[in-house]
């Protein structure tokens, strides 16, 4: 059989097909839309359920928080117009806006506020907000816009928590009528965008909510393409399939900086990379703990793994936050490390043996940093047995007292408040720290009950120095976020690394 298709027609069809195929993705979006390449999906659409720092920018597009933060992390009103924390820290009066509606048109009131921060928490240990709101004894509704939060012990950081992980007001009436499962399938919030489409592990499509009470988003449609592989994210921005992406390798950012049409940035954020220390086993010896800290060349780690952009830290706080100490530096001094070890009868020839756990792929270059630290320790006389553990197992191992002496860890604190930095990291009663020593533990616990802001901050600044000087923690670096975008796509830069879709705009 012979087909009578002329060659010219056939070639024309191929060319036409190729042109039609390339058209949809020659440019990721028109001016009324933007596509973002994002490294992770949201774990669930119940925003109170899981504390996932990487999902906050997405949650903040769909849901509103009671309070918000400006780009410099200062607390600002949001759903809460005004708040007043009692001097004893045992209650907080809040007044909500009266012009907020959820995406189904229902008005947001104190009923929703109480449901989110009290009723849901008390229903069982199912939500991560159960941790942040555990002091909430009751929320007394005074009117649709006024309520009083009551705490069982002073809660000085409650305003900060109102703008932090998991604190998103969810619609009580909608969840009651539709059920939680349906809410998770078709979530509604009161944020600047409504969720238009969601495909697990693939994409999230947001459409502007035109009745939003606050500043309207400039771009009506945002597509968040979940691209887990960093190389694929680089390829996607390079080829124009996305307009903006984050968490690409540092070397790629440096390359994009030189490419016309792209803007690339490496920005330090309020996330610290640290080594958690146990207060027992081989680290019961203070000399060994301090030697472990003096032996680490943090500037070299920053240069090797973050292009020098990650700021070396001496305390568990990032520059610009209230707990940061500008007058304290814990110096890199391998000779001093050797002397400290010698005082405890250890040397490179007779090293002290410790276990050292790390994640691999939990945050950029984690495993590589751990390997470099092992080499630095080896040079002074600390022989570390490096073990890779899954981040998901961390809390279980810590609860069972099964972590090794040291653990490389990354901690995000978008609020910048010192309680959520050193307070949480050194509190022996919380699940985060393997440090269980009573001396530092009691100092931390006392700070949790100081309602006066200035006194509290002064206390944390003192604690941070004390903890580091006693080898209770080894702060390493201020983490960075990398971002590559089309040059004509502007965004608002937040000190905590948020990339909020509602701040994006084409120029």
């Amino acid at each position: 059989m012979k087909f009578g298709l002329p060659r010219r027609t056939f070639l024309g069809m191929i060319a036409g097909t190729a042109a039609s195929m390339s058209a949809p993705f020659a440019r990721a979006a028109a001016n009324d839309a933007v596509t973002i390449g994002w490294p992770n999906d949201v774990p669930t659409w119940d925003p109170n359920q899981r504390f996932t720092p990487d999902a906050q920018s997405i949650f903040k597009a769909v849901f509103d928080q009671p309070l918000d933060q400006d780009p410099d992390l200062k607390l600002i009103p949001s759903l809460i117009k005004s708040w007043n924390l009692a001097p004893d820290g045992l209650s907080m009066a809040v007044e909500l806006r009266d012009d907020v509606t959820f995406h189904n048109g229902d008005k947001m009131t104190t009923e929703d506020f109480r449901y989110t921060f009290f009723e849901r928490i008390k229903s069982g240990p199912k939500l991560d907000t159960g941790n942040s709101m555990k002091k909430v004894q009751d929320i007394v509704i005074e009117s649709p816009t006024k309520a009083l939060m009551k705490f069982d012990s002073p809660a000085p950081t409650m305003p900060q928590w109102m703008a932090f992980l998991g604190s998103y007001v969810v619609p009580k009436k909608y969840i009651d009528s539709e059920g939680l499962d349906n809410f998770v399938k078709k979530p509604i919030g009161s944020g600047p965008y409504r969720l238009a489409e969601y495909e697990l592990n693939s994409r999230i499509v947001l459409e502007r909510y035109d009745n939003y009470w606050g500043r309207k988003a400039k771009i009506p449609r945002v597509t968040i393409q979940i691209i887990k592989d960093p190389s694929a994210r680089v390829a996607a921005i390079q080829s124009g399939q996305v307009d903006c992406t984050i968490n690409v390798p540092v070397r790629e950012v440096q390359r994009f900086e030189k490419e016309p049409g792209f803007a690339a940035e490496i920005d330090p954020i309020t996330r610290v990379i640290l080594i958690h220390m146990r207060s027992d086993l081989a680290f019961a010896d203070k000399n060994v703990r301090l030697a472990a800290h003096h032996a680490i060349d943090k500037a070299a780690l920053s240069k090797a793994f973050y292009g020098g952009a990650a700021v070396p830290l001496s305390v568990l706080a990032t520059p610009g936050t209230p707990g940061y100490l500008t007058d304290f530096t814990f110096k890199y001094d391998p000779e001093l490390a050797k002397k400290l070890l010698a005082a405890s009868n250890f040397s490179p020839a007779n090293p002290v043996k410790i276990g050292f756990a790390t994640t691999n792929g939990q945050f950029p270059s984690d495993y590589d940093i751990a390997r470099a630290v092992v080499q630095m320790w080896k040079a002074v006389g600390i022989d570390a047995d490096l073990q890779v553990i899954e981040y998901a197992k961390y809390f279980e191992l810590n609860r069972g007292n099964k972590l090794p002496e040291a653990m490389l860890y990354s901690w995000d604190n978008a609020t910048g408040d010192p309680e959520i930095f050193s307070g949480y990291q050194l509190n022996p009663k919380m699940p985060f720290s393997p440090w269980k020593d009573e001396d530092i533990g009691n100092r931390v616990l006392a700070l949790f009950n100081i309602p006066d802001y200035d006194k509290r901050i002064a206390g944390y600044r003192e604690l941070e120095r004390y903890a580091v000087e006693n080898g209770a923690t080894v702060p390493l670096l201020q983490s960075v976020v990398t971002l590559v975008r089309k040059k004509n796509l502007a965004y608002t830069k937040y000190a905590n690394g948020w990339l909020l879709p509602q701040t994006l705009q084409w120029s």
Partner: protein, 339 residues
């Protein structure tokens, strides 16, 4: 012929039941041996020991291992694999949401592998004894040595980044809506609602990952087909056909290929299982919303219920495909037909 197919498929399906039981037992036991506590991991970090113990009882983890297995198996038979630790949703519903995309991708991959494999095998055979044979042989070995994820990256770079002719993220273009879940298969659903634009976009998004899978698995088919053709060409009936004056082209395509395809078909069935597993990395590279992508998340988060659900689903799909392939084998092979 249909009777043969049905009877053999039914027999194979019955034989698959003990295999499934063994696999499910292994899957359950191996994961239970991991030093992790699913109860503790199902709860927020601040959960107390009492709450963890209560959760352990709720999950049946305080009972003897055989009893736990029976509870799990009974649930699995009803599609209840427990709640995912990471997503805090039913693991079964997560698998159901992602399985069609993986099947669609794997089918695309195996069809391409078949086309490339058969075409390449015939070409290799036709080049036998020529000066091109060593070159073709070397090329097939080279193809054989490139795994699917490397093909994925190469194709992404060449056709996505350099030539800009094909998309490589997701399953459909960003500007197009997702069709409602009717069958769960994007291509089919877009046709059912009459949206050719979505169908075209879904096809474009399927090309690169399917080709990556196809290229990785075609060389094996290619080489097996060529070897089978060599064997078949030594059979008497080929010589007789030549003596009857049948053309070489007709001998190859009309007589030899049909007989040589039997071992190739068996291999394709086995390959489908491997190819189905190969979707895992390809899905991650192309952000394809399938079960492989989900598995990577599950493993990273030690999400035992989800790992078990996906593992068992992989096993069921592979067994089903092998059963169907065995049925076709019987249809093609007259010796196995029931009289």
């Amino acid at each position: 012929m249909i009777t043969t197919f049905v009877k053999l498929t039914a027999a194979r399906l019955l034989a698959a039941i003990p295999i499934l039981l063994v696999v499910s037992t292994l899957l359950f036991c191996v994961l239970r041996l991991l030093p992790v506590d699913p109860a503790a991991m199902s709860l927020p970090p601040n959960a107390t020991i009492v709450e963890i113990e209560a959760k352990r009882r709720e999950m049946g983890l305080d009972r003897p291992l055989p009893e736990q297995y029976l509870i799990w198996l009974s649930g699995a038979l009803h599609g209840d694999f427990g709640q995912s630790i990471q997503f805090r949703r039913q693991a079964g519903s997560l698998v159901a949401a992602t399985l069609p995309a993986t099947i669609q991708l794997a089918l695309g991959g195996i069809v391409l592998a078949g086309i490339l494999g058969v075409g390449g095998g015939l070409l290799l055979f036709r080049l036998r004894g020529t000066i091109f044979e060593p070159v073709a042989d070397l090329a097939s070995i080279l193809l054989l040595s490139i795994p699917e994820f490397l093909w994925g990256l190469i194709l992404l770079f060449v056709f996505g980044v350099v030539l800009h002719v094909l998309p490589f993220t997701g399953a459909v273009a960003a500007g197009l809506p997702l069709p409602p879940h009717i069958t769960g298969f994007l291509l089919l659903d877009s046709l059912l609602i009459g949206r050719l634009d979505i169908f075209t976009s879904a096809c474009e998004h399927l090309i690169l990952p399917a080709v990556a899978l196809g290229l990785a698995f075609s060389p094996t088919i290619m080489r097996v087909l060529r070897s089978s053709l060599f064997d078949v060409y030594h059979e008497e009936y080929i010589q007789q056909a030549r003596l009857r004056g049948v053309s070489e082209r007709k001998i190859l395509l009309g007589h030899a290929l049909k007989n040589a395809s039997l071992p190739t078909l068996t291999l394709a069935g086995v390959q489908f299982g491997i190819l189905f597993g190969g979707t895992l990395l390809v899905e991650v590279i192309y952000s394809y919303p399938g079960m492989g992508n989900l598995m990577v998340d599950a493993v990273r988060n030690v999400d035992l219920p989800l790992i078990q659900a996906i593992g068992l689903t992989y096993c069921v799909v592979v067994l089903l495909i092998n059963t169907v392939v065995d049925g076709f084998y019987a249809v093609l092979n007259p010796k196995l037909r029931v009289r």
